[in-house]
């Protein structure tokens, strides 16, 4: 297994697999509801001009996450 980093550290265009969601409470619920469960493939689509939020392709939908929220998702780079 390759290194674990957080979702906000990925560069544009890169793909990663979700390993764990470390958020708690409603944020955790929200992330899981969006489909960010372990094993999910996530692609970084683009960043806003100031670098936050970041748009991801999650299970076929483009979803923007704030840096602090994306930082609660542990991923391992894929491919």
């Amino acid at each position: 297994m390759s290194d674990t980093i957080t979702l906000n550290c990925l560069g544009n265009g890169s793909i990663a697999l979700v390993k764990e969601v470390v958020a708690e409470g409603l944020t955790r619920r929200r992330l899981l509801d969006l489909g960010l469960v372990p094993g999910t493939k996530v692609e970084v689509i683009r960043r806003s001009p100031v670098g936050d939020p970041i748009a991801f392709n999650i299970r076929g939908a483009v979803i923007a996450l704030r840096r602090e929220v994306a930082g609660k998702v542990l991923v391992s780079p894929w491919g």
Binding site: E24, G25, L26, R28, R29, R30, D33, L34, G35, I58, R59, G60, A61
Partner: protein, 265 residues
Amino acid sequence: MGLTYQSTGQLTTREMFDAKSDNCDYIIALAGNPNTGKSTVFNALTGLRQHTGNWPGKTVQRAEGNYIYKSHRYRLIDLPGTYSLLSNSADEEVARDFICFARPDATIVVLDATCLERNLNLALQVMEITNKVVVCVNLIDEARRKKIQVDAAKLSERLGVPVVSTAARSNEGLPRLIELVSDVASKRVCPKPQPVSYSKDLEEAIARLEPRVRDVIGKDINPRWLTLRLLDGDTRLLQAIENHLNAGRTAPVVHGRRRDYSNGA
């Protein structure tokens, strides 16, 4: 006409949601993720006979319309598009409260055939609250273009509720949807959703708590679902229940500590 707010000082839940049942036979809720063509289904079923506005006390869009099938009048309520019923945004609370408290005669869950996986989350959540569900796999034309095949019969078997594939844009499958909704609303068909089973710890906790929830709440709200929300520590829902059930009828359901199951769920 029965008792009204003026005569009793209390709102019945259906009145509160303004889904008056006096001039229609069945109330049907329409739920679904954003961008699944939910509004297209809504428009196709109700045509121009619809009213738009806001949900009481919320800045959330609300649309309702009527249609007639085999001389029964159906009122269709378009719920906000959500990924979930549990994360407590204003949209999700509206959708959850309607399904939970207004208890529609049937709920249509519209899914996007091109990404079923993400959409089924909401369907399962709705099916945990109510068994009166019809699943509408929409955008099937889009899916065909992407070479995705959806086996509606198999999906129906696995979920335990009626499933129909539709392309609301071209009216494909909608007559069948109307038929299935009528079957469920009139109780000719009683869907039996496959219950979602949780980890051993959680199931034990449910088994212990559920009978007590059932004693307090009766059959108005699915006791298993409510038990799960109590274990979740969903205080917003408890608040909503207190507001919606008649004052004085609700006693505090749980006191004391709760265990943290968030990692086992």
